[in-house]
């Protein structure tokens, strides 16, 4: 080789080694080869100076790292404090990355088994919510990069229903292609349950308000019927054409009405009065005993209408109740069954009790005239509501029974068919 180069760049040396001597020893090409050598060397020098000027010093490196860690810690602490799980889904790989809190929120203990497939968390979602979530996720697009939705999961650790609130953000590359979704999840179960409770409470209050208004209206109407009767009697009495025999009849009418007014006021006192009686008199009572005493109190009436009363109550069933209330409720329902029997059939009354963990369900079924629930459903337990002129009674029995039952934490419901019969279901607290 005719080279007079001081130093030959390793790359050039490599190249020259592959060329024939005739080429490398050609005088005319020597300049060219020298130029190439210099060019390579200049490139090396330039590259080194660039790298050198941008190289972080060790100190700078440590400082930047420290700041980065502090920032990450802050974010991590903040999301942990807010109980926000942070997650990321990669559009490229389809994998999901979850932080510790995400696993905690979703109740996943075996992370390995759970894996990184993005559809795995779907399996924890409540089946009813899966369609709406799928729809929402399908709608994520570059126009609406942020989205918020809520869904329920069945948490594997305790099989409980949890409410999850999720927010997502779609991240795109410079070409507006979606590359990943980042999001947070929060367990908002306590919040949702509190809201539900509040809504139920509100509904209860509104219902009670309506009942109270109805009650006030009916009572005032009742009292007014007494006063208008007495006014009418007085009006007739005063008339010059009213003779002695008519007047005598009118006085009787006054007596009758005064008596009815007195009764109305007594009933009023009783109904209003029971609201003051707190649950201090609640005791453990044997249901079979109470029913049997109600039957014996109505023994004469039962025999008179030739009715059969069948009782199927286990002697071990005990309830928490106020004795006088429970006695009244049983008496009232049995009395109703007797009053509303049909002449076409022999009356059969079945009294059955069933119990579960918390409640005792007492059913009193008859084969009497039945109730037109379509017409009377709303008024059935109202005060002074009667649906039959010819059957005696004031129309307060069921109202009182329901009030007493509710005070004891129970409830009453009815099923009936006209001309077939009626069934009252009374729910009591089990002792």
């Amino acid at each position: 080789m005719l080279l007079t180069l001081k130093t030959i760049h390793p790359l050039l040396e490599q190249h020259l080694a592959t060329l024939p001597d005739s080429f490398t020893q050609n005088e005319a090409l020597q300049n060219f080869i020298e130029t190439v050598n210099e060019a390579y060397q200049k490139f090396d020098r330039d590259r080194e100076s660039i790298q050198h000027s941008h190289r972080l010093s060790d100190l700078e490196y440590v400082e930047i790292n420290k700041k980065l860690n502090e920032s990450t810690d802050r974010l991590s602490l903040a999301t942990k404090a807010a109980k926000m799980g942070v997650w990321e889904w990669s559009g490229v790989t389809g994998n999901i990355i979850w932080d510790d809190l995400m696993y905690e929120i979703f109740g996943v203990t075996d992370r390995e088994a759970f894996g990184k497939i993005s559809t795995n968390w779907f399996k924890l979602t409540h089946p009813e919510d899966v369609p709406k979530i799928s729809k929402k996720l399908a709608h994520i697009n570059t126009e609406e990069p942020t989205m918020h939705f809520e869904f329920r999961i069945i948490r594997p650790t305790d099989n409980s229903l949890r409410y999850i609130s999720a927010s997502t953000f779609l991240s795109v590359d410079p070409k507006k292609q979606p590359i990943r979704i980042v999001g947070i999840c929060m367990d908002v179960t306590e919040l949702r349950l509190a809201e539900k409770e509040k809504a139920e409470l509100l509904e209860n209050v509104l219902k009670q308000n309506r009942e109270l208004e109805d009650f006030a209206f009916v009572i005032s109407h009742r009292l007014r019927s007494h006063s208008s009767k007495l006014s009418t009697v007085a009006h007739v009495f005063k008339n010059p054409s009213a003779n002695e025999s008519l007047q005598k009849e009118l006085i009787k009418e006054v007596e009758k009405e005064a008596h009815l007014l007195d009764e109305t006021l007594k009933e009023l006192t009783e109904i209003i009065g029971i609201n003051d009686n707190k649950s201090t008199d609640i005791e453990t009572l044997n249901l079979q005993t109470i029913i049997e005493s109600a039957i014996s109190n109505l023994q004469t009436a039962i025999e008179n209408c030739n009715a059969t009363v069948e009782v199927s109550i286990d002697s071990s069933i005990q309830v928490y109740a106020v004795k006088s209330y429970l006695q009244n409720i049983c008496f009232q329902l049995l009395d109703n069954a007797l009053k509303f029997r049909t002449k076409k059939k022999q009356l059969v009354v079945r009294i059955v009790a069933e119990e579960n963990d918390e409640n005792v369900k007492l059913s009193i079924t008859d084969n009497g005239i039945g109730i037109d629930l379509k017409r009377h459903q709303n008024k059935l337990f109202g005060i002074y509501r009667k649906f039959h002129t010819h059957i005696e009674g004031k129309g307060i029995g069921l109202h009182l029974a329901k009030k007493q039952l509710e005070l004891m934490g129970g409830k009453i419901e009815v099923q009936s068919m006209l001309n077939e019969g009626t069934q009252f279901n009374v729910y009591l607290k089990k002792a």
Partner: protein, 146 residues
């Protein structure tokens, strides 16, 4: 001012579930010489049966006035009106229905206005004043007497 008591040949039908009220109202109407024929029912369904039969066999015998109570078991005043509406226009034309009730509920007043056949709403007791009003009343005006 002297009010001359005019004798009328009216036929009046009273519908009230309280027998005593029907008796008392009859007496009041008698004393006022407001009618020559007064009939009453404690069951609105039976009243309807009578009205339907009058429509078929004796239209002139149809009542001139009906005093109707609202709160009655079996069939209440409103249910009665629903059935009454269905009777022949010619036979209803001479009949004026008045609601006579112990109710002070404004909703009941509004409801009574929804029936063309109901000409007024009166609060019990049925008094001379009410009958005088009815005597002098213009048929196209709805009267409220409380």
């Amino acid at each position: 001012m002297n009010t001359i008591k005019m004798e009328h040949n009216y036929h009046i039908l009273l519908i009230d579930d309280d027998r005593a009220f029907n008796f008392l109202n009859e007496k009041i109407i008698e004393f006022e010489k407001f009618a020559t024929k007064i009939s009453s029912h404690v069951d609105a369904r039976e009243a309807l049966v009578e009205l339907k039969s009058l429509q078929e066999t004796n239209p002139p015998g149809f009542p001139d006035f009906i005093f109707l109570d609202i709160n009655m078991p079996e069939m209440d005043g409103w249910e009665f009106m629903e059935q009454f509406k269905l009777l022949n226009e010619e036979v209803k034309a001479k009949c004026r229905v008045f609601i006579l009730t112990s109710s002070l509920n404004p909703i009941d007043i509004l409801k009574s206005k929804t029936y063309n056949e109901v000409k007024g709403f009166a609060s019990k007791p049925l008094t001379t004043e009410i009958l005088n009003f009815i005597r002098s009343e213009k048929t196209n005006q709805f009267i409220i007497l409380m």
